[in-house]
Symmetry: D3
Subunit: 193 residues, 6 copies
């Protein structure tokens, strides 16, 4: 339905024009997902930034620790919705549905995470992430005490904050480039396998 | 005066405990600046994130293009002031004074960039950067037309947006970690050489 | 998955306890939709308000005029997303997908209507609706001139404003009652018939 | 002084052109108040919406329950002032003065309800109503506990919320139509009978 | 009705305890108004501040120039309403009614100056005053050009800005001290002489 | 570097054209500071307002009481930074450095007072001052209790509030007049004597 719509307001290089390492990375994600998420193509306009972005993303999202992969995606979806970022809400909403094996959780968190079907611990995680995302200048020791009270370690808290901070960057890039989510994302994880 | 104040709310590794490449990078900046900016120590808590952060920073701030190095720092100071980030305003204020060879410009931009002694082109650059920083969801083609009218190329505009976006990340990390600017920064660039 | 979750924070009457006209109305919607949307059950707690609410809803949404039914739902989804209303975004998102025969439009509008695949005329419609929803006190003749310039008649403009105003009411009721969208809505209109 | 000023930005039908039931309703209010409040004329432009609006209004404002009629009007005045609605603040300010037999209470609540001469229970009622009016997406169980602590039943709380929600609709309609309050309202209830 | 309510949260000196010049000033206003406006009593707690406040007030409000006395009061009422200041809206609302010989203008401006029965020139005056009051950091040459286009001289513009700025001070003092408007103000200027 | 930049958007009288008392006051400050702070020249455009402004300033800033002179300047810097006022942040930042004998405190407070090297008592003082500056309409008895709990007397609290209120005025005047801080202020108090 939207085959001709541009995926970025800025130039998008052809695969054949990209540096070898970018092509390898893209081949990898394509093999895994079955398609190439547009963010890989849009950011390839700037190979050095592409590499740093992906390295940062993987360092935060694939890291072992006290947060599940689904919880990391919850942070992405909640903060990206607050920043009204098409690409991030729709693409990471899909990933969240798959990670959480829950077809409705992403829409719930995107609209209003306060009313989503999540645990009190996850609610505290998202409250902290949202404060980092929207008012980091006001984060105080009271906020740390509150979230630590839900069993998060200092390492977990760094993860929560860093993911919220990284998507503050990502949301702005996607909004300025008018980055378009692939059509595939809308349905991913909505039907039982 | 503040020798004992912690430089981060999170653990800070000793140099001897850091991976070799981090130590090399820190040795380099120390040789150049005469001291180790605290951000290198604070982020070393997470080596993978340190590497991605520095790679991203350098890709944006050292890149050739239509923006001078001073102008890139103007974007950092203006957006970091809006986000009330101690480390970024004070450290990058120092760098801006040096890059611009102007002892007052950083304070002017930090307090209210609309009243700073800058050119109309620089004002347009900061207006765009501030919109990316504070309301990227509302960036529209009218904003692109406005800034392009001041002679910025699409590549320059990407730079402006990407710097504003990267410091959206950086400001949040610094605020959450309560990252402390080194005392050296306060006076840098204020006196004629 | 959520069969036991309450559909309202307030008491929900059994069908058998409801006045006859409410039961008739509910039977009608059930026949048409295949299930009873929770708003009918939640509002039945107050029969007089139920009747006024439904009468108002139908007067605005089923009225002939210059706006298509899909366009009316676009207004609902955009303003309800701004008000972070679970029930309205998810239920009316489903209706919008069906009315527009477009599986992605509702998610696009909910996240950021400025980036959705809509016509300039629809964009002007949503800009006006959002101003009524979020800052009606600032609506001015300049706003009327802008939207009239896109071919909307005064009657259309009343419709746009009245729908935005009615869902200002509806969003608040749904948020206060923690009204739960039926699970059925999440998938409606996402797959081709 | 303002006999010629339009009472709505949209067409206002003559009494003789209105459906019989609207005329009857208007005759009733005229007999009671001594004049026809402009909202009846302005909304008569759309008879079906007029009927639903009035039915909803009466269901909420004339309902028996734990809130006095004066308290219901306090909610209207406080939330309508926050929404900067001429018609609602001035017309319902008049009704509040009469219901409360207090010539100054409406002005006090309109300017800043936090400083008005009201009871702590009424203050809690208005705090809750204002949250529904201005940030219903953030209403939480803590808010319910707070207001319940002042002796309000769940039924009272629904009333408070529904009145705030209904006037969210009403304020937007009045602002968009530039609905003009009748001159009579300004003095009503200011002098002892 | 409110004879016993305190007029300030802070101590209020007796007339007999005040310095002679304060007593003289108060005697003057009492003779003119028929009562002592509470602000004179509340501020007498600090005689030096009282003197500076009154001198500043008179320098701005009694100054000859291009603004009428009624227009000066319009600025006070509009900005004080935005700051939700009981004393200033109610006391200066009374003065505005008298100066403008208009019983409804103060209520109109207090609720929403954009909908008040004022001239386009007065609307421009209030738009500028409100920007000074609420976002002086964003006042630009475009704002000066706009208001100058309505025939205001630079001297008039200083007056508008200075009145808005002075009541930024006054509103904050009155709100912090919970300064109570005299009951007399509510009815002043509402009835024809 | 900026010898030719105008110090005000409005006319600035020559010293020889000023009333004798203004000249005397200016001579005094020049003798003390070694230069004439621009605010004295900019406000001399309006001698009566100049006199009231200076009288008010001195009444608040030179008054004996529980706040040190440095603490008074902290209030000025924090609130003026929130209002983005060039003149006030830069000039009073200089005075704060001198009063506090601390070369970094002003920059810390200007960027984010929550992260500055101040005592908990000073933090409470600035929290209260900021609420007066930014949301005086919401100041409540809970705020008074909080600050009193840090040992501030009612007289101290009046001082804090009045300074925040006075600079609400001052910041707006300086922003509207585009008042330029003297170059001398930028370096004052940054080097050990």
């Amino acid at each position: 339905m939207s085959a001709d719509a541009p995926i970025s307001r800025f130039p998008v290089p052809k695969l054949s024009e990209m540096p070898e390492d970018l092509r390898a990375r893209i081949a990898l994600v394509q093999e895994k997902a079955g398609f190439v998420p547009n963010i890989f193509l849009a950011l390839a306009h700037r190979p050095d930034e592409f590499r740093a972005f992906m390295a940062y993303h993987d360092a935060l999202m694939d890291r072992p620790g006290g947060l599940t992969k689904a919880e990391r995606e919850m942070i992405v979806v909640a903060t990206s919705a607050a920043n009204q970022c098409h690409y991030c809400v729709i693409a990471h909403g899909a990933i969240l549905r798959i990670r959480a094996k829950n077809p409705v959780i992403a829409d719930q968190i995107a609209v209003n995470y306060r009313k989503a079907d999540i645990t009190p611990r996850q609610r505290a995680m998202l409250d902290f992430a949202m404060k980092v995302s929207q008012a980091a200048n006001e984060v105080s020791e009271a906020d740390f005490a509150e979230i630590a009270g839900h069993g998060f370690s200092d390492d977990d808290i760094w993860d929560i904050a860093a993911i919220a901070a990284f998507f503050a960057l990502s949301n702005r890039l996607a909004n300025v480039t008018a980055m378009r989510p692939n059509d595939e994302f809308y349905m991913m994880g909505r039907l039982p396998k």
